[in-house]
Symmetry: C2
Subunit: 220 residues, 2 copies
């Protein structure tokens, strides 16, 4: 009970800071997404494909959350967009305070209209921490299995969009797209689902079209 | 700083309870392993293959840790071994208190010599929580990518054994076993590494032979 109260306080403070981030981002006309997943689902590859699709059309910046290393930030840098590394150490998720600390950096690039935040790979804890984003985008890779929505319901419930990624590997597994969709929608009937592969390119255009469309409704 | 102190207290209390679990398990001649991984690495399938290999040779019990659902426990039950479900709700890892609460159940099966604990799928938080186990076994699936040891070093550092699983999918990915091994051993030179596939059966015998050999040195 004692721990729960401490956790409630931490989450309540986080929600407050997330609200401040949201106001600041909106004032600057920046739309933001928080990308969450288990380790190795292909989040960074999806971001790279998204950057390629938006090149020359929209100015994007990326915040990379990792326990350690800037391997992902290095991958993003090659695309010529502003990228900021946040290293969390042992912390298993980004929080609104960490993201808030990167906003001065972000606003020093006034041309940016879309902020992509890549969270730490973790399908549990990031579900509870609002960063101030406009949409939470969950990436689940097909090799993880079609039962994942039932086993990690909180993050499926908290997300707005689900990318079912690495569809190119489905023929080599017992993954059923029908079961995955059914399980995901049972947890969250409002989820927008895209089937993507960074190997074949499947679904990337549909995802990017949706993203830019949503963005226009928030920061026209 | 304040939060850190609270966390230190929680971890210190957990270590104390883990020590008590360890003493009780040792007194009863039970060897135990704590299986950790990201969601969808194939932990449950590895446990099923391990149970098949040990059938008729060794009495095994399984504790299943999940946020919600008893899907994994149902899979294990089919193998005719005692299985206990621990549902953690929103908690992202098992802890020594939760496992301690299952020991009376375990000891009501005095024939059991090996306890397999399947932790919640999470490559971050379980690294810090000793359950009282004799060995921590990390399962990493090849589709997650060969950079995972560098990105989630704490859990690679805390583990005794690494199963690189789903090797059957390697030909369909850019995963390099040489890089994965090099990265894992850079973090933890003492890691015992097995390459496994629950589809082809590769490496399962080697893993089970190692497990029973290690066990004999602890609870002969």
């Amino acid at each position: 009970m004692h721990d729960f109260t401490i956790k409630e306080k931490i989450l309540s403070k986080n929600d407050e800071l997330a609200g401040e981030n949201r106001v600041l981002l909106r004032e600057r006309g920046v739309y933001s997404i928080n990308m969450v997943s288990s380790p190795g689902s292909g989040k960074t590859s999806v971001i790279e494909k998204t950057l390629e699709a938006l090149k020359g059309k929209l100015e994007v910046a990326v915040i990379e959350g990792d326990l350690q290393t800037d391997l992902d930030a290095q991958r993003i840098k090659k695309h010529g967009v502003p990228v900021r590394q946040i290293t969390t150490g042992k912390a298993c998720h980004l929080d609104a305070h960490l993201v808030g600390g990167a906003l001065d950096w972000l606003f020093s690039h006034p041309e940016v209209r879309l902020l992509i935040i890549e969270n730490v790979g973790n399908m549990v804890c990031p579900a509870e921490y609002d960063l101030g984003e406009d949409a939470k985008v969950l990436v689940m890779s097909a090799p993880e299995g079609d039962d994942k929505p039932l086993k990690y319901p909180a993050i499926f419930h908290a997300s707005d969009v689900l990318l079912i990624n690495k569809t190119d590997l489905i023929p080599h597994t017992d993954f059923s797209m029908a079961r995955a969709r059914k399980n995901a929608l049972a947890i969250n009937p409002g989820l927008k689902i895209f089937e993507t592969s960074c190997v074949t390119g499947e679904g990337i255009d549909a995802w990017v079209n949706y993203l830019t469309g949503e963005m226009m409704t928030v920061v026209p």
